[in-house]
Symmetry: C2
Subunit: 455 residues, 2 copies
């Protein structure tokens, strides 16, 4: 649908049907318009942009990908740049600035009003991934002695510049956060009530330095439209709105997925990422993991003589390694997710280990019985491979049992330990676990076979 | 913090300090209270519950885990059950019913008013995972000839029973959705304007049958507080609010994570899931994957004679299999995520394959050069293993090059094909890719070594 719309818009521009184009665009949602911009051929951006009404243009602009924003800024006059910046929310401007080259940042700061410039500089100072970096300073603030009527009048005056009017905050003369009033409450309360009487005074807030992922989880837990952000002295400095929290959740999930597949997160949609950039995100991990697999190779090398004596043992190596890897990944991915949702913390480490141990006993038992049966019935009897003795079947199934237990314990403990040591637990997902478990399963395999087969 | 609070509440109940307890609980957020309930010892639930003010009790109840809700319902009188049901939003009641045993469901339906019962039955009829199952029927609806003042008056009357008053809908006499008015717009418009003049008439809506994941993505894209749900004749039947969308996003992410680790999603937090339930979620996949690894074993078996002739080839098997698996997982996980965000669709399949091919050429080149150097410099020269000839190094690095290309192409194509065929692409993540790539890497390895080493 959008592609067809893009074609329609291109031909309207080509045929200079500007009035029609303006009417068409005026009814559209800025998020849809931003998508159309992404699909337009180069050279059309500025033409479509200049036709849009000022407010819609600015809203659309703030939803575009950084590269497109940069293109447009390059084509803007200083006046046009000031216009769009004055319409944008400061937090969106800061998001954009973080992605721009220095020369564009300077132009943006020059085109902003002194007040906006101060706010931008303020917001840029917060630590990476903190609540301060995702909050907006455009919220509605009341004094406690205002009446409902006065509050509604205040909203009427300032609403247009505020990111939300649905949750408003009550502060004292020193800007300390003392209460919260929702627009719903204002709409259903008598007009002459003082805010003090209707406000909620147990306000849940976060510090400017709080981790943005924690803030996002609070939206999931409480279902708020906005959460106030305060400094160390509980002075209100900004708010985070639910749409920013949804963005954070998506980004964090994105990063977890990438790290779990041993890829450095690029922060860009796949389709828009160049092959070279994808290569850069992937090759370091592939190299590290390849080099790590050397240990596994070394273990095999040191048992080469024994393998040569009983070559049919080799055929079971992939199955043992894979099953160990899969069993470990199941545990580690589950625990990583629990950690990132805050459901599992360091104090749960023994509970996790105990549970993984129980699960691994059950899984190990089933897998080793099935493997034993399969080796005897299919490999030995159906395929007639008499080199595969019941003793070999026993070695394989015993190895399987021990490997599954080790894998699940490692898969359960490693993410928790990684988090405890300050690493992102997501990097301990499948690829790392597989590499570790491979080595373990081979060591177990060769020890058990030495013991049972006397080779 | 919450655990200390739980202890405090337990001792207040033990010492019958009920007035103090009521005051303490009254200021608390229902989400925090629900967490405290989860931590209370059995036997305390009903005591704490009966002390809470009716509205807070119902809100807290709707946020509890199903098992706890069931415990409480069992302790409720019919009157208490009716009370809580009359305070709850219908969509929350439906969510709860879906988790309850039949006997409890019957009791719930008996305790509901006839009207609520009809709505519940209506909502239960929508297909699994559709917008219909997550929507609420408690929204604010206006006629277009109402004025702003009338609309505000209407909100004042009905607000208490509606899930949101911040986005209201305008319908004609047949309930067709014709417009949308936000509370912000109402608050800043002249009181005598007819809604017709201030409403937005390009309303973005979804069908009752739309996939709930798509609906959740629309919240991410548009930043709406609510999205209207319409039937096939564009009659308004409900709304989905942003907090339900956040829940859906979390649940879907949860499921993707589980499937990617070859675990059947349990829909429960890890800590609360019993070992037996975890085992049931994990063992079928481990069995399937173990049996699939038989093919890999069969490939090795059929080359046993050659491996015996050149035993040092065995040592590189784990490294080749792992690197292939990692390269494939990197691609498949990235594509799975792109598919689930709707960034990649079936029509992109050739673009994806071309990009993966380019990336795999670059990755394969680097890996094979590094592997060649490492085998010669470390395995042959540093460790003095003269059985490892430059020809063997060539076989290994050539295999690596081909395997990485195959793995990335399979990792790129498989999730897209899976989705096209109606499967969840998440199941084509690491474990499946690894199993497929293992077989391919061994086939390539043995073919290349036959060709180059003449064994």
């Amino acid at each position: 649908m959008e592609e067809k719309m893009t074609d329609k818009i291109v031909s309207m521009i080509d045929e200079r049907r500007y009035t029609e184009l303006r009417e068409q665009a005026d009814g559209m949602n800025p998020a849809d318009l931003a998508e159309i911009f992404e699909e337009l051929p180069i050279g059309y951006y500025a033409k479509l942009y200049r036709i849009l009404p000022k407010e819609l243009a600015a809203e659309t602009f703030s939803l575009m990908e950084p590269e497109l924003q940069k293109e447009l800024i390059d084509s803007f006059t200083d006046k046009e740049l000031s216009d769009v910046l004055s319409e944008m929310y400061v937090d969106d401007t800061v998001d954009m600035i973080e992605e721009m080259p220095a020369v564009v940042v300077k132009r943006i700061l020059r085109a902003s009003t002194a007040e906006t410039r101060n706010e931008i500089n303020e917001l840029l100072r917060y630590p990476k991934n903190s609540a301060g970096t995702i909050m907006t300073t455009e919220y509605v603030r009341f004094r406690k002695n205002m009446t409902v009527a006065q509050a509604l009048e205040h909203i009427r005056k300032v609403a247009i510049d505020k990111e939300t009017v649905y949750t408003c905050y009550v502060t004292d003369e020193d800007r300390h956060l003392i209460g919260l009033v929702t627009a719903k409450k204002l709409l259903i309360s008598p007009l002459d009530s003082p805010l003090e009487d209707i406000m909620e005074d147990n306000v849940i807030s976060v510090l400017t330095t709080a981790d943005r992922e924690e803030v996002a989880q609070m939206f999931d837990k409480y279902g708020f439209i906005a959460i106030p952000v305060v400094d160390n002295e509980t002075r209100l400095v900004g708010i985070v709105t639910f749409d920013d929290a949804i963005d954070v959740m998506q980004e964090e999930t994105e990063e977890d997925f990438a790290k779990m597949a041993a890829v450095t997160p690029t922060g860009e949609p796949y389709i828009k990422t160049s092959a070279v950039r994808l290569w850069k995100a992937r090759i370091p991990w592939l190299l590290i993991l390849m080099i790590s697999a050397t240990f596994t190779g070394a273990i095999i090398s040191s048992f080469e003589a024994k393998l040569a004596a009983c070559v049919c043992l080799t055929a079971f190596i992939p199955m043992l390694m894979d099953t160990g890897g899969n069993a470990g990944s199941q545990s580690s991915v589950t625990i990583i997710r629990g950690l990132s949702l805050g459901e599992i913390t360091f104090k749960d480490v023994f509970r996790v280990l105990f549970k993984e141990f129980s699960v691994s006993l059950m899984c190990g038992a089933v897998l080793s019985v099935v493997a034993f049966g399969k080796i005897i019935l299919i490999d030995r009897m159906a395929f007639g491979n008499t080199a595969i003795t019941p003793w070999i079947a026993l070695v394989v199934s015993l190895t399987l049992f021990i490997t599954v237990i080790c894998s699940k314990l490692i898969g359960g403990a490693l993410p928790i330990l990684a988090k405890r040591m300050g690493f992102d637990p997501a990097v301990t997902a499948s690829p790392i676990i597989t590499t570790i478990v491979d080595a373990i399963s081979l060591l177990v395999y060769f020890s058990v076979s030495t013991l049972i087969l006397n080779i």
